[in-house]
Every structure is written in C-alpha cells, then in structure tokens.
Symmetry: C2
Subunit: 220 residues, 2 copies
C-alpha cells in the first residue's frame, strides 16, 4: 500500500488540491517533528493535548505517567486522532482573503494499545528520545525499573491518514496584481540556539557531538 | 476577575506546580502566537485542527469558508476547545525520564457564536490579519462584499481556561548529578527569514516597514 485509502474520515474536504494521501510523504511530515496534538474527549469536550511522539513504520508512540488522564481516557474510549503541523511561512497577499500560511500538516486515525513488556517499553522510550534529538539515548544512564514501572507507553497504529501541504507563493485575484501593494512570502522556521549546560559537571564538559549536530542542523 | 475559577474542566491534573490560571498571563501566551488547535468531534473522533486566530479581551476569533466543515460543526454542537502552545526549549537530562521541554501552553473552554454583521466581520478579519503580522491590515485593498459573504467568522468567548508553563533547567534525580553525562537546555524558537517578494510589482517595491519590522523582531 502506497496511499491511505480515502474514506469519510480522512478525506480532505477543503483545498483538495493540497491533499496528500501518500504514505511516504505523510511519514516525512511525521519524521520532521517530535510534537503532536492528541485529540481526546473530556466531559464531552474535544481537547488537543501537545505531546512528544516517535514514529516507527505505521506506529506512533506516546508516553506519560501511569496516571496520565488523557492517555488512560483514549486507551479506554479508543477515540482519538493525532495531528502534526509544521509552519513554513506566512503568505502575504494583496487582499485579506488570500492571506495564508505555508505548512505541512498530517492527521492520523488509528487504534491504540498499551505496551506492557519492559523491553518493548524501553525500546519505545529510546525511539521517543531519539526522535527529539537523534542519537541521544545511548549517552544516558539506563532506566531504573521503578522508572519503567511508572511510565505508560501507548502504541497508536495508523489505520488511515491524510495530510495537507501548502508550499507556494501568493494566489491573488487576477485584477489585483496591478495594485501597488507589496505581496510575498515570509519564510518561518524553528531554530535551536546554542545549548546551555546544566550547573555542575556539564559546565566543564565538552558538549557531545550529537547535541552540537542538533544545534547546527537547526540553527539559521 | 484576575484568575479563571478552577473547575473540573480546566484544572491542571499533572504538574500542578506549572499550572497558570492568571488571566493576564494566559492572554500573554495567546498574544504571542496566531496559530491555535481547535478541537472538534467528527464521527465520534476528537480531531485537532490548526487555525489562525486573533484575541481581543475575552474573545478568540476564528474564520474560514462558509462551507468549513469544522467551524459549522462546532457552531452546531457547541463542543470545542482551543489550545495554543509555544515550544521554548529542549530539556536534556541525565536520565531519559527527566527529559522534557520548556513551553507555554494554554487551553481554553467557552461558548461560540457566528458573527453576521458585515462591519463586525470586517473588524474581526482585521484583528486576525494583524495578529499574524502587526499593523498589516491598513496596507491591503478593502474587502469586496462577495469576499465577506463567503467568509464565516466565529467568536469564541473564553469562559474558563488554564495554562501550563515550564521555563527552567534540568531536574534530575539527586544521585545522578555526579554522573559524567552532559545535561542542559537547548533553547528553540521560531524565526522569520528575509521576505521574498511576489513576482511583478512587489519585486520593484520597497518592502513595507511593518513587514521588515516583523522580520527583524522574529529573526535570530
């Protein structure tokens, strides 16, 4: 399967020219970030909760405290979705209506299960740490059993998904191009600033290469 | 009222030391961005939809096409919430468990109404454009009536809210501070790159001051 099948749930209704169902392209959007918005229903209200995640194959992994209200609720209700969005630019048009943003967003629907096996939990936490900062896990001390015990790990299997991507310039009304109004795109991106060492030993240590690489790849 | 009253809906359950109910502090979080995640329920599933917004007093304004499925659904169901989050840094601990992020997030609950008056709609669209780029609206051509007619404007009145803020260094286990593991914070932020003029007249125009100011305030 190279594309998610379009269904009532995942079909993009507005701006279908921007719709993406291609699995590899959606995975690229997921792999470009580590923060998602998890939807859950609390007392009848839909709430979006920002959370760290990792992707591997068709799985998205989430974690939290074993008392995490949201994770426990979605495990029970099976009702959730996951949204990831990257903002790439502000689109400045000649008219208010055609103002827009350049972005890549993906919305995922799927099934959930709790992971109980300690080795599997540890492997997943490694994925989550390394999705935030590549190659980072191996520099940490091993997890204590009591830490694993108090961590809830949830596996979300992507069953269907869609993405929307806008990556272009201004689309104004034809008659507006003659107006003496500036229009264009302001690219925006997230950058990392220089790492700040914690008090104590890290102040006297070299910053590890993988941390410096993260900084260099994300700075402007 | 200086604080939102804590209720079952808005009370922060995990990390109560990071909870913020102060209205001015929550407004600061809202005013620092222009993209929110609107929760809505579609076919029983909670979905988080990224949208532009503006805040004025206790109102959040959203807009979209008059055929926008999500806005129409939340106007009818009255079930929604709005989440805004700013990522400020990666917190690199000595142990996996204490990895975290610095952030400011706010979740809002309230009531919704559609705005029908054209003058009011136009004033709100001005707020939304200016929340994205300050002082921008006055440089655009006025909206056409047919554009107003096809734009749905929704007013969300904040009835209760809470925020969570983490703005500090690493919190490791006491015994871990002696480990020879680097720890610290990598600050992250969103920046603007130099504006790219649209083809035609803008290529020969000076970039307006308010656009250059936006760039200068958001670059690194």
């Amino acid at each position: 399967m190279k594309e998610y099948t379009k269904s009532k749930l995942n079909r993009v209704k507005r701006g279908q020219n921007r719709a993406v169902y291609d699995i590899e392209k959606i995975n690229e959007i997921l792999d470009a970030g580590f923060l998602c918005y998890v939807g859950y229903i609390y007392e009848g209200n839909p709430i979006s909760i920002p959370m760290a995640y990792a992707r591997k194959d068709d799985k998205i992994y989430l974690h939290g405290s074993t008392a995490n209200r949201m994770l426990l609720a979605i495990l029970q209700s099976k009702k959730t979705s996951i949204t990831v969005m990257h903002l790439d630019g502000l689109v400045i048009a000649r008219s208010g209506l055609h103002h827009s943003v350049n972005y890549r967003s993906a919305t995922l629907f799927g099934s959930l299960q709790k992971i109980d096996d300690d080795n599997e939990k540890s492997d997943i936490l490694e994925l989550i740490v390394n999705q935030m900062i590549p190659n980072h896990w191996d520099s940490l001390r091993p997890m204590h059993q009591k830490e694993l015990d108090r961590t809830l790990v949830v596996e979300f299997t992507i069953e269907t998904a869609s993405a929307k991507v806008r990556a272009e310039g201004v689309n104004d009304e034809p008659e507006d191009y003659e107006l003496p109004i500036w229009a264009g795109v302001i690219p925006v991106k997230q950058i990392a600033e220089y790492p700040i060492a914690d008090k104590g030993k890290p102040e006297k240590m070299n910053i590890p290469n993988h941390i410096l690489e993260y900084y260099h790849q994300n700075k402007s």
